[in-house]
Amino acid sequence: MSDITETTAKYSIGIDLGTTHCVLSYIDLEQEGDKVAKQLFAIPQLSAPGSVTEKYQLPSFVYQAHEDEISKDQTPLPWNADNTTLVGDVARNLGLKTPIRLVSSAKSWLSHATVSPHDSILPFSSPDEVEKISPVTATSQYLSHLADAWNYAHPDAPISEQDVTITIPASFDPAARNLTAQAAQALNLKHLNLLEEPQAAVYSWLQACGDEWRDQVNVGDTILVVDIGGGTTDLSLISVEEVEGNLTLSRVAVGEHILLGGDNMDLALAYRLKMKLMQEGKQLQPWQIQAITHACRDAKEQLLSDNDIDTMPIVIPSRGSKLIAGTMQTELTRDEVKQTILDGFFPATAVSEMPQQNTRTALTQIGLPYAQDAAITKHIAHFLNKQHDAIATDAGDFIKPTAVLFNGGVFKSDAISSKLIGIINDWLITADVEEEAKLLTGIDLDLAVANGACYHGYAKQGKGVRIKGGLASAYYVGVESSMPAIPGFEAPLEAVCIAPFGLEEGTNHDVSTYQFGLVVGQPVKFKFFGSTVRREDVVGTHLDFWQPDDLDQLPDIEVTLDSANRNSGDVVPVSLSVTVTEVGTLKVEAIANDSDETWEIELTVRQ
């Protein structure tokens, strides 16, 4: 019976914890047969006060209702008659009309460098009277809702016993990964894994192809994954390698955190229509902009598909009960969409053209660090340039992908995917590459992340191909170099590598070559750095000089030595120990050199 925790998982559950909505799909692990039967879970949720409906998507929103707004008996859930939390569809619907009470984009706040994710700050910048929650709490509420819904539908197979994979952006730093795992703590999961979204898309592709994936890619291939979600663009490189005669996949590089996604495109179209209406002398209210944004999403898909529709009517209904009198009508043309979306977000730029850093556009908003350059092609070019050392063979100035996998609802528009693959191939042709990159297809653009996540749990059981992951960054702590003080100058900072690139889940490294003196009783902060390009550094590598692009400064990390055996103010010599947990999070500990005491270093403090 000792192995019971290994054997009780009946399902592999994949949760796409998205910026704008969550999806849960699952595979019955006990079912035999060649065809993997993945299923989408219909999530019961309030759609309006007093009304519970089942939907495959749980919108990632919480609504902090005013006490006079909704009576208590109008918010029951099937599993909790006394529920008062408004999560999902109902929150999004109420928030459309009362945005000051709507908690949104919690996921983006998790990776926000300057805000403490445990501080109650959401809904962001709304009046003090509105009760605030932290980004971690909001994330936890989405996960708890999914868990409760699952447990209600599967009383014999509680989620805590199942194999659960939650997806995160590949660009999440260690702190954001730990925070996601923290948000999942309330679920008491016995088997939790975090999986990067672009990898999940590849898993979904593997599952869609079945055994035929080996015919589609070859040893030496490099797959570029472009995952454009509602709020983020996530990039990864997967290399196809041969190990002991078998084709294997390995994730060799991930991109930076780019807050730019499909929602920005809809918003850009809405503002374009707003300008058009203003020229006709019509003023738009904020609520009308929202109505246009929704309408633009559907219209965009139509106008960027392969059909002969040239204009789509956009109707903005009145708010009052008189529909005819107050309704405003305009139209969106194919040319306008092409200009705004194809030329604005996917301009045909050269591979050497990098994203601009200082042009603020109308899309930015105070708070989240939205990408300043809307040109996704430039962000991709930057990634391919920056990662030119990512693969074993000499790639030259930039990585030349041999295959490309697109994911995200944006790519439902044929015009977008064909333009983007065209631009990538132009880069290859300009660099004298003979073969064009192959577009890998067959995934469900809306559901691939959730599907891939549950397939990951299935593959982990030895039933399918796994992608080799490991750390996509090397990590460093900053130490002040010892040199004579010069007035007016800070001591130069040096960096010591504490975790090498590619360190795999479940492995551990001690940084014994470098010792730190920590003061008991006082919080000690370390500067913390990550590098997605320094692949050769080993634990203990000491850098006194680096290129600005090589190391990215991450939020500081902190440790407080509280020891009963020591006096406050004592200096304890410690070395660091770094573990990548099975879950996929980073754990850094300080180990006393003169005793067996250890202290965990907090990665998730931010001020």
Partner: protein, 214 residues
């Protein structure tokens, strides 16, 4: 009382005379109850009382009582079925559908509005709201399938024993099945209804709340 079903397997393992007598008695009693029950299917309460009597009398023969229990339950269920009344169309569900159509498609607003004097362009704009919204509601909460899959205006055969609520014969309705005729309308059948569940005490009559902006 806590009965163990596995005891049934022990039954043939050498029962003594007293047990056999008790067993026979209980079976007779059971039969009597069943016969009486069968005559008076409507009197549910009485039958339940009898069931308790049986339990008391044959308490010792655990396994048989379990058997009796099972049969009893089946019997009672059947009676409930016989008693089931015709379902009334629920006004709450109708109000709920109107509420969904109002929220997504402004249906009530449109129907309540006076269209005299409105231009076709204005009505056209409103029609788009109604169409997109209604389509969303209908597709989200109902699944449809056509009843006949043949092309409309083509010759079809209606086989013997067809369901008259699914296929309506019109025109020269003469002769006998199989019928040959032109498919005028392919029909629609709802295969799945997935309407939101309503909270206890939810007032479905409020199709759209009044809105006051602060």
């Amino acid at each position: 009382m806590n009965f163990d079903l596995t005891n049934i397997s022990e039954l043939p393992a050498g029962p003594d005379a007293a047990h056999i007598a008790l067993f026979a008695l209980s079976v007779i009693l059971l039969l009597l109850t069943l016969i009486r029950g069968g005559k008076k299917t409507v009197e549910i309460e009485k039958i339940v009382e009898k069931e308790i009597e049986v339990k008391v009398e044959v308490e010792k023969i655990v396994e048989v009582i379990k058997h009796v229990d099972v049969e009893k339950i089946v019997e009672v269920e059947k009676i409930v079925e016989i008693k089931a009344p015709l379902q009334e169309a629920s006004p709450a569900a109708a109000c709920q559908l109107l509420s969904l159509l109002q929220n997504e498609a402004r249906f009530i607003d449109f129907i309540q509005e006076d269209l005299t004097g409105a231009s076709d362009e204005q009505i056209g704009a409103a029609a788009r709201i109604i169409h997109t919204g209604s389509k969303k509601v209908i597709n989200e909460y109902f699944s449809f399938t056509p009843i006949r899959t043949e092309e409309e205006e083509s010759q079809v055969t209606v086989a013997e024993g067809f369901n008259p609520s699914e296929i309506k014969l019109i025109g020269n309705v003469l002769g006998s099945a199989p019928y040959r005729g032109i498919l005028v309308h392919a029909g629609w059948k709802i295969t799945k209804v997935n309407l939101p569940k309503l909270a206890q005490g939810h007032n479905a009559n409020i199709v759209a709340a009044a809105e006051v902006e602060l």
